[in-house]
């Protein structure tokens, strides 16, 4: 039991704002409001071509949201089972879960996306978006699995022993005692995974999925406003990501409330 991970790996998501960042000038505020101001100014003072660009993008934003939300949901479920599999005492379940994690972590996301997308497309005809969601979920499910595993393992063994000694079986112990506590450890890194996932959905633009980035590319290649279009795309991603990180920060505080010390 001594090789328990003490810290949880933090992914490359945007920083989740903490309650400690009380001052007026936090990195989050600076980034968010600068982006907002630039965004608004461009639309007001340089309507051409920015207004045209922005009118072209809502479809893409919607697709990006769809892919993100669907992938987050599916990846969380896969992640929970993978995490449980990784700590399972059943050798085979454990081996399957661990192999899945190793394989997924060893292949770049973009390669996985191509592979799954075309592999899925070859055997079953499913909508492009569905294929993209499955590919994203399979990949992020493995990352989330590690987060879940670390969260579960961060709960003191005594909690499990107390539950078992009362007569709970292992499944009940996990769902009534361990997971409700592990949430608080799991939430910050899961939030980071969500944010990272949102950004990584831009990779699906390489497939035939009309997400935000792909819509931008389409516009740029027709109009030749490359600089302007990608400025807009970058600002939009930044705003969405910052909002999401704010949301995760608020959730974290809510859930963290039960144990005052």
């Amino acid at each position: 039991m001594s090789e328990k991970p003490v810290t949880i790996e933090i992914s490359d998501g945007a920083a989740i704002p903490r309650r400690k960042d009380k001052g007026l000038v936090s990195a989050w505020r600076l980034a968010f409001f600068s982006a907002l101001v630039i965004f608004t100014c461009l639309l007001i003072f340089k309507r051409e071509p920015y207004l045209r660009i922005i009118k072209f993008l809502p479809d893409g934003i919607l697709v990006t949201f769809e892919v993100t939300i669907a992938s987050i949901s599916l990846a969380s479920i896969i992640g929970l089972f993978t995490g449980l599999g990784r700590i399972s005492r059943n050798r085979y379940i454990n081996l399957i879960a661990s192999t899945y994690v190793e394989v997924v972590r060893g292949i770049p996301l973009l390669v996985q996306l191509f592979y799954l997308y075309y592999a899925l497309g070859r055997f079953v005809r499913i909508p492009d978006i569905a294929a993209a969601v499955i590919a994203m979920s399979v990949c992020y499910g493995a990352y989330m699995g590690e987060v879940f595993r670390a969260g579960i393992e961060s709960i003191d063994r005594g909690q499990t022993e107390a539950a078992l000694s009362l007569g709970f079986n292992r499944t009940q112990t996990m769902f009534y005692v361990i997971l409700p506590q592990a949430w608080r450890t799991i939430l910050p890194p899961v939030g980071n995974e969500f944010i990272a996932l949102l950004k990584d959905t831009s990779l699906v633009s390489i497939l035939a999925v009309s997400d935000l980035l792909r819509r931008g590319r389409e516009f740029a290649s027709e109009s030749f406003f490359y600089f302007e279009t990608y400025t807009m795309i970058a600002i939009i991603y930044l705003l969405i990501t910052l909002l999401l990180s704010k949301f995760v920060g608020i959730m974290e505080e809510r859930l963290g409330r039960y144990e005052q010390r």
Binding site: G158, Q159, A163, S165, L166, G167, F168, V177
Partner: protein, 246 residues
Amino acid sequence: MNSVNPIIQIRNVYKYFGPLKALDNVSLDVNFREKVVVIGPSGSGKSTLLRTINQLETIDRGQIVVDGQDINSPANDITKIRAEVGMVFQSFNLFRHKTVLQNLTLAPLKIRKISKDEAEETALKLLEKVDIKEKADSYPAQLSGGQQQRVAIARALAMNPKIMLFDEPTSALDPEMIGEVLDVMVTLALEGMTMVVVSHEMGFAREVADRIVFMDYGQIIETGTPQHFFENPEHARSQKFLEQIL
């Protein structure tokens, strides 16, 4: 099972942690309503022995029969047996995400499937018994160690167990809180609970124990009444241990 049989029968039990022999041919019977206090130096296998009784530790050889059921037999459901055996830990192990009241009601609700009203009524009675009713809606982190341990005892009692196991219940407490926990345990003993207690509290052992079990190197070296054990222990190791702690 007739009540003349010991409620706990431990027969020739061996337990290894890798090459380390933590239990070395241990046999012990505990009768219904008997109070047994297990003492011995650190690392002698006291906790391991206690934890084999509800299979928090599996055994490598031997047999343990609790309330007529061989706990290692695949025919018996260990979770059912555990529900009849309460355990109190050195580190309390209260569920940190639950209030005091919820700590007491969780297992009765989910395992005994009794109604919420009934579970809460029983829980409040038990909290009154351990004198901490006013903290029913607090979270464990808001309680002192002594209070937490009293809640932990009440939580185990909420399942209405036939046997209570205590693993150094006062060792993690500040000295001024030891008394309040021991008081609860003495009351429980007077009510006739079957208890197996690992403890370094010699005063408690003297007062409450029907039998003292002295362990060293994973073996039971000597057992006897408190009077016998404290006044004229037979074995050299028991004598040496007593000299060190008294």
